[in-house]
Symmetry: C2
Subunit: 315 residues, 2 copies
Amino acid sequence: MSGEFDLISWIAARVSPRSDVLLGIGDDGAILRPPAGSDLVIVTDTLNSGVHFPESTAARDVGWKALAVNLSDLAAMGAAPAWCTLALSLPAPDDAWLDACIDGFLALAEQHGIALVGGDTTRGPLSLTVTACGFVAAGTALRRDAAKVGDDIWVSGTLGDAAAALREVLQGKSCADALRSRLDRPTPRCALGQSLVGISHACIDVSDGVLQDLGHVCAASGVGAEVWLDSLPASDALVVLTVGAERWRLQSAGDDYELCFTADPSQRDGLVALSGVLGIRLTRVGHVIAGSGVRTLDGDGNEVRLKSSGYEHFA
Amino acid sequence: MSGEFDLISWIAARVSPRSDVLLGIGDDGAILRPPAGSDLVIVTDTLNSGVHFPESTAARDVGWKALAVNLSDLAAMGAAPAWCTLALSLPAPDDAWLDACIDGFLALAEQHGIALVGGDTTRGPLSLTVTACGFVAAGTALRRDAAKVGDDIWVSGTLGDAAAALREVLQGKSCADALRSRLDRPTPRCALGQSLVGISHACIDVSDGVLQDLGHVCAASGVGAEVWLDSLPASDALVVLTVGAERWRLQSAGDDYELCFTADPSQRDGLVALSGVLGIRLTRVGHVIAGSGVRTLDGDGNEVRLKSSGYEHFA
């Protein structure tokens, strides 16, 4: 590729079409036809090299993760993915790197039927900002402010794998593939999020750490929460690597891209069935209580204060 | 502000509401209600410090410009601005800088009735990516691929002021306010763009330089263009500073955020009237011809080749 405009054509040629994309990549903007009777959900997240992924991350995984973290936000709102844009800053032209990055991005996009409709390529430190749009039947989007006292608190998948992988990478250790893949190629829970519409009261994606994210749900909903630390779901790879409070800290460190949601206890059977249909582990990890804040309890029911409870920029 | 989450609340409190924003800043995503019978136009542009604006640029102007360049893209599509997101990377927390940056961003947002509905704040080299959404009656958006042989080519406002200001700044010279303000606080032509729907055949915003941007129109439309360099509109400040080919080069260097559009000659009277109504200079600078590429002619009708014809990343 000899420049920005060749790059744009080259990316445009690889994007899968959608019938509601009247004009995709290549003009000042994309022209899109929203479905009638739906609300539009829009999300945006940036990944900066060395901050949101190790500098050693493969280009393909960088592309994948940049879209995945945004799809995870759409999932948390219960929205079906539709369109996205990618703003990519690169220090210097690098065709091989770009090829692999776009490959990873579009592989995940294809899985979720989301069309890349525009973007911007600029010169600068490596950074990717994705904005994604999805749709949900009018008035039914999931939100963080609807948790009710008495709700169960559920978490999808397992927590702590990405944080464990990051720790190993930063310490220069080799890392089990099962953990590393969860750091580099998170699995957004789009089908689960859409299935939770009408079932879940409040939902959030676990990006900053389950306790911190659940804290946002509590603050927005005007409730408190109790979480049983021993019940936080852990992968086999994490169980082999860690014990006790060390594991809990990793499980609440963030970068998981699982969903944390609340639902009335009457939904338990339905959620167990949904878990089977989707092939996604769903675990009850606590319940919503009156008050405020998140209390964490050990196996004996004693309150435990973890030293760190998630990731915050500019803290 | 003590951290990311305070910052988010602080920005949310300053945003003007819109009735179609069901849920704005503060959840995993915003929930928005698109108007019936409209197409959605989505655009995105990144500004990196030291690449897209001088590092000396005031924070308020950085915020303004980040939104302005995106509103300019919406204008080029004929779309009415509705919603936007802002992804902001900052090297370190700086409340005063942020306050001024958001101030500039929201001042322009208010002028155009666009609501900031979400974003992301991350740690990293100073960079702003805005994604903006607008609406246009279904099937009527302006595009680059609809220029017709025989069309007049028009340009709004004046060209070259921002490039002249940048040259002076990079050379460490003082710069006339009239030029510097055009570099730091470009004026997106939103009302003009919306007025051109149904009048203009093809439209593009002049971000990379009028000749290069017009070249995109020609390539997309399968036509050529002749441009009379002497007719390119120049501000008084630019006329004082420059002559001849030097002026032409600045006028085709980019960062103008004016609209370049084509229209049938039968529209001339209507466009002159529109210019008066909107208070925006509109200048005929050439015409669309059969063939391909952009030919530039001097005052004697001789073809001139400028050394540089606009800005391209990764060229």
